[in-house]
């Protein structure tokens, strides 16, 4: 008797009726989503990966060669002047002052 009641109950539980949803429910959800912006609350690992991706060089060899070329051009256009300016601290007067006491020794 108990087994019969079990079966009947289980049959009733499996065949419970559900009112069908509106035919356009899925489309309504999709349409609403189009008006909502996504928020990108990414986990730490993923956000770090994205940050590094920002600095990714598409063609590193070209970038390196370009940087070297610009460096050389700038270097040759501004030759380094090794002669000291006239009024620098290493002028003859200053040097004479520095060595002034050595004569007495």
């Amino acid at each position: 008797m108990t087994a019969m009641r079990d079966e009947k109950l289980e049959e009733m539980l499996r065949s419970r009726r559900v009112e069908p949803p509106s035919a356009d429910l899925a489309e309504r959800i999709i349409l609403k989503a189009q008006a909502i912006p996504q928020s990108q609350a990414l986990p730490l690992g993923q956000s770090l990966r994205r940050l590094f991706a920002e600095f990714h060089l598409p063609k590193p060899a070209y970038v390196l060669a370009g940087t070297l070329l610009v460096g050389f051009l700038l270097g040759f256009n501004n030759p380094f002047d090794t002669t000291p300016p006239v009024n620098s601290v290493t002028s003859p007067t200053a040097q004479a002052y520095l060595y002034a006491d050595e004569d007495d020794l």
């Binding site: 499996r14 009726r17 559900v18 009112e19 949803p21 429910l25 899925a26 996504q38 986990p43």
Partner: protein
């Protein structure tokens, strides 16, 4: 092209949704809306409310797609069942239990009129008694019988072990048998 999209599994669609693909979202929604509506309906017994809950669940997923973490969650449907069940429980906490609407189609169209009346009354009583069950027992019944999930899947969704789920089912059925009589 449409076939290609339809062939994508849920995991692939979710990865695309995380990059902002409306198309992938559309495919996922069309694929699963009805299944999750059925689940929500069993809890709230009202079409509009069930539709609102399903809509809310999907829009939350769209708004914050990083909620889905493939490494942490085994299967999209298992995880989303949990999301929908939680929304239903939230709704139930806010609202007082409602009686079933009189025009609710509980009757099988194939029944003869006298059979239909008896069956209608049985089903109405069953729904009332299910609604009166403790929350976890009701969830176990809804997932295992109405949704046809395996006990293991239902246990995973509810966050309990298999034995605990079986015990919930047994207690729910015993209560229902007792209250519904013979």
């Amino acid at each position: 092209m449409a076939v290609e999209w339809a062939e994508k599994d849920d995991g692939e669609l979710l990865a695309l949704i995380q990059t902002g693909s409306h198309h992938a979202f559309g495919v996922l929604v069309r694929r699963h809306t009805e299944r999750f509506y059925r689940l929500a309906y069993r809890y709230v017994q009202n079409r509009e409310t069930a539709e609102d809950i399903v809509q809310d669940a999907f829009l939350k997923l769209w708004e914050e797609p990083s909620r889905w973490q493939p490494g942490r969650h085994s299967k999209f449907t298992t995880w989303f069942y949990k999301v929908v069940v939680n929304l239903c429980l939230d709704w139930q906490k806010k609202k007082r239990p409602q009686s079933l609407p009189e025009d609710m189609p509980l009757v099988d169209q194939r029944d003869r009129p006298e059979q239909a009346v008896v069956r209608n009354e049985e089903r109405r009583r069953l729904e009332t008694e299910i609604a009166a069950l403790p929350e976890r027992q009701r969830a176990a019944l809804n997932l295992c019988f109405a949704e046809g999930l395996s006990n293991q899947e239902a246990a995973e969704i509810m966050g309990v072990n298999l034995k605990a789920l079986q015990s919930l089912l047994m207690r729910a059925k015993a209560t229902l048998k007792e209250r519904l009589g013979d």
